[in-house]
C-alpha cells in the first residue's frame, strides 16, 4: 500500500516503513529535538586540550607521536611549548626540541624527514604550530587506527 502525499510518499512493508522524500520535502528545518551537549562530560572523547588546560596525549590527532619510540621526547618538547609563557612561545625549549629531533632521526621509517609541509597534509595532521616534526608526521601514524575522524579533535573543530 502506498500513500502518496503531495510531496513525499511512504509505504509499509510489514514492520518496516519506507519513506521517499524530495529535496523540497526536506527543505524546512527539522523540528527534531536533540539533547543539549555538556562540553565537560568526562565520558566524552576529549580533544587535544583537556578542560583543565592539560594536553590530551591520547588524542588521535597526535597520531602515534606520544606513544612511539620518541614519545617521551615528544611529550617533553610539546609540553614545554604548550606551557611556555615566553613572549615568543617556546623560545625556552630548544633543548627539548633538539632532543626530540635527534630521536626522530633515529627512526626514519617512522618519521620520514619530508621537506616542508606536503600538499597532502590535512588539518588533522598537526596539532601544534611548534615542533615541526608533528607537521611532517606521515600517514602511517595518523591513519593507523583512529576511528571516525569527525569526532576526533582538531583544536577548534
Amino acid at each position: 500500500m502506498s500513500l502518496s502525499g503531495v510531496f513525499c510518499s511512504y509505504r509499509q512493508e510489514g514492520k518496516d516503513k519506507i519513506i521517499f522524500v524530495t529535496k523540497e520535502d526536506h527543505e524546512a528545518s527539522s523540528n527534531a529535538e536533540l539533547v543539549e551537549e555538556d562540553p565537560n562530560d568526562p565520558y566524552e572523547e576529549q580533544g587535544l586540550i583537556l578542560p583543565g588546560g592539560d594536553i590530551n596525549w591520547n588524542c588521535p590527532c597526535l597520531g602515534g607521536m606520544a606513544s612511539g619510540p620518541c614519545g617521551t621526547e615528544f611529550k617533553d618538547a610539546f609540553s614545554c611549548f604548550h606551557y611556555s609563557k615566553e613572549e615568543i612561545k617556546g623560545s625556552d625549549f630548544m633543548e627539548q626540541f633538539t632532543a626530540m629531533q635527534q630521536c626522530l632521526q633515529l627512526y626514519p621509517e617512522l618519521y620520514p624527514q619530508e621537506d616542508e609541509a606536503s600538499p597532502k597534509q590535512s588539518s588533522k595532521d598537526s596539532a601544534a604550530e611548534g615542533p615541526s616534526a608533528a607537521n611532517s608526521n606521515p600517514a602511517p601514524e595518523q591513519d593507523s587506527d583512529t576511528s571516525n575522524p569527525n569526532t576526533e579533535s582538531s583544536p577548534g573543530s
Binding site: 597526535l62 593507523s144 569527525n150
Partner: protein
C-alpha cells in the same frame, strides 16, 4: 658473557592477543603512562595489522605484488600498509626491561595457555611464566565452520578456506587464480564482501563466483528485507551467482571437485569453498583465570568499563560488555576494536570511563552500495527508512563519489578507482519506489532509535552518533532524517 637474552619475567602491562584492540590499547597506555613498558603476546607471526583491507581494498589493488606488500590505497590516494606500525616502532621483548623510556614489544608465535589471577601471572605454551600488573585480554576469535564440512573429511577440508588472517588472504588470492569456481557460504559482511571482491575479479579471469546462504538476501540479518533484496541484485551485478534460502545438507569431494547438496535439492559443483559463517570468540583462558563467559553473546563478560576482574580488562571481538545506552552486547567490528582497545588502555592507566563513544562500522558492496552504520542494526527490529527520491537532476552515485567526499574513518578506504559508468542511471520516468540510492535507516527498540544506517551518504556519522547517544523517543523520524541532509553530497 654469552648468556642467552631472556624474555621479561614481568610486564607492567601485558596484552594478550596482537590484533587491533591490543594495538589500540598499547597506544593508549603509552600515551597516558610516560615510559610505560607494554608487552603484547600473540600466537600469530605478524605484527599488529588491520583486518578490513583483507576483504576489501587489498582485492582491488593494481599491484601484482600486493600479497607480499600488503599495501593499499586509501580514499585520499595515499598508500599505506595494513600494519599499524612498521617494525621500528616496536622494541624487542628482550629489551623491554632495560628500556629507559619503555616501549611496546611484541612476542610472536607464543600462546598464553594459562592465567593465574591470584598470582597475577600467565603461562605460555613453552612454559615461560610472565607476571603482570595490568592485563588485557584481546584474543579475538576464530572463524566458525559448518559442522558438516568439518566432518566431511580431509579432501573437503583442504578445499575449504576459513577467512580471517593475512595467511588466509594470501591463500585465497592464490586459490582464486588457480580454480574455475569458488563458492562462498555465508551472506553477511565478510561473505558478501569477499563475493563482491572475487566477483570483480571474475570479469577478467572467468572465475565462477557463487554465494549461498540461508537468508532471503545479502545482509539479511542486518538490512530490512526490501533493502536486502535490493542489495542482492547489486551483488549479482558484481558477477556473483547468488543462491538465497540455501541450506547446506552435505559436501563431498568427487573427481577433484566439491559437490554441495542443498536441502531443497539444488546441487552446486565447485572447486573451492570459503566459509564465512561467523566468528567464535576465543575464551580459552576463562577456565584457568576464573573469568565469566557470557552465554547469550559469547565472549568474556565485562562491565561498562571493560573490566572482567581486578587488573584484567577485555576488549575487541572477545569482550561481551555492558553498553550503558544499548545494553549488554558483543561487537565484532574494526572500529569497535579500536574504541574498546583505547578505552581499556585508558582504564588500565587509571581512568574509569565507561564505554560511551559509540563505535561505527561500514561495508561496501560494489559501486552502488556503500554504507556506514552505528549501534544495533538488526533486521528483526522495526525500521524506518527515509530515502532521497530520485529526480532528473540526480547523478549516479559513482559520479558523486568521484568528487572525493567519501571520508568515513581514517582507517578505511573506498576504492576511488571505480569506473564512473553507472549501471543504473535514474530517469524521470523510473519507478522511484524501488530506487534506494541513498538515505538513512533507523532501527527502533521501544520507539527509541538504537541503530542507524547511513545508506550511500557519508560524513554524517557524528549526527547519527548523537541521536543514538540521546536515546530519545522521536515522534516523527522524517524530522530526524532531515538532520542528515541526504539530498546533498
Amino acid at each position: 658473557e654469552g648468556l642467552p637474552e631472556a624474555l621479561p619475567a614481568h610486564a607492567p602491562y601485558l596484552l594478550i592477543g596482537g590484533g587491533t584492540a591490543s594495538f589500540a590499547a598499547a597506544r593508549s597506555i603509552r600515551a597516558r603512562d610516560p615510559g610505560a613498558k607494554v608487552l603484547i603476546v600473540t600466537d600469530e607471526p605478524d605484527l599488529p595489522y588491520m583486518r578490513p583491507p583483507l576483504s576489501k581494498e587489498l582485492w582491488f589493488s593494481d599491484d601484482p605484488a600486493v600479497t607480499d606488500t600488503l599495501r593499499f590505497k586509501q580514499w585520499n590516494g595515499k598508500e599505506r600498509s595494513i600494519y599499524f606500525q612498521p617494525p621500528s616502532f616496536y622494541i624487542r621483548p628482550e629489551d623491554l626491561d632495560g628500556a629507559e623510556n619503555g616501549g611496546v614489544a611484541v612476542l610472536n608465535n607464543r600462546k598464553v595457555v594459562y592465567m593465574d589471577v591470584r598470582g597475577n601471572k600467565v603461562k605460555l605454551d613453552d612454559d615461560t611464566e610472565i607476571s603482570y600488573d595490568k592485563c588485557l585480554i584481546a584474543t579475538g576469535g576464530i572463524p566458525r565452520n559448518l559442522q558438516l564440512i568439518e566432518r566431511a573429511g580431509e579432501e573437503v577440508m583442504k578445499r575449504t578456506t576459513l577467512f580471517r588472517k593475512i595467511e588466509d588472504f594470501k591463500s585465497l588470492d592464490k586459490v582464486s587464480r588457480n580454480v574455475k569456481s569458488v563458492t562462498i557460504i555465508g551472506g553477511g559482511f565478510l561473505g558478501s564482501e569477499l563475493a563482491c571482491a572475487l566477483g570483480r575479479r571474475s570479469t577478467e579471469s572467468g572465475l565462477e563466483v557463487i554465494q549461498m546462504f540461508p537468508e532471503k538476501g545479502n545482509m539479511g540479518k542486518v538490512l530490512p528485507e526490501y533493502l536486502s533484496n535490493w542489495t542482492t541484485e547489486k551483488v549479482k551485478k558484481e558477477g556473483v551467482k547468488v543462491l538465497t534460502e540455501a541450506l547446506v545438507k552435505s559436501v563431498t569431494c568427487k573427481d577433484d571437485q566439491l559437490e554441495i547438496k542443498l536441502k531443497d535439492g539444488r546441487v552446486v559443483t565447485t572447486d573451492h569453498i570459503v566459509a564465512a559463517v561467523g566468528l567464535e570468540p576465543n575464551v580459552d583462558l576463562a577456565k584457568s583465570a576464573g573469568l565469566e563467559v557470557d552465554s547469550d553473546f559469547g565472549g568474556y563478560r565485562v562491565n561498562a568499563e571493560l573490566q572482567a576482574r581486578s587488573n584484567i580488562w577485555v576488549a575487541g571481538d572477545a569482550a561481551c560488555f555492558y553498553d550503558i545506552r544499548l545494553g549488554r552486547r558483543r561487537v565484532e567490528h574494526h572500529d569497535h576494536a579500536v574504541v574498546s582497545g583505547r578505552l581499556a588502555g585508558e582504564n588500565m592507566t587509571g581512568a574509569s570511563k565507561p564505554y560511551w563513544h559509540q563505535s561505527m562500522f561500514w561495508s561496501d558492496l560494489g559501486p552502488d552500495v556503500g554504507y556506514e552504520a552505528i549501534g544495533i542494526v538488526d533486521s528483526s527490529l522495526p525500521t524506518v527508512g527515509v530515502f532521497a527520491k530520485a529526480t532528473a537532476k540526480d547523478t549516479p552515485k559513482a559520479a558523486t563519489e568521484m568528487s572525493g567526499t567519501g571520508i568515513r574513518s581514517e582507517s578505511e578506504t573506498e576504492d576511488t578507482a571505480v569506473s564512473p559508468v553507472a549501471s543504473d542511471t535514474p530517469s524521470p520516468a523510473a519507478e522511484n519506489k524501488d530506487d534506494f540510492g541513498k538515505g538513512v535507516i533507523f532501527y527502533l527498540r521501544d520507539k527509541v532509535v538504537v541503530g542507524i544506517i547511513l545508506w550511500n551518504v557519508f560524513n554524517r556519522m557524528p549526527i547519527a552518533r548523537k541521536i543514538i547517544k540521546d536515546g530519545e523517543e522521536h515522534a516523527d523520524l522524517n524530522e530526524v532524517a532531515k538532520l542528515f541532509n541526504i539530498h546533498e553530497d
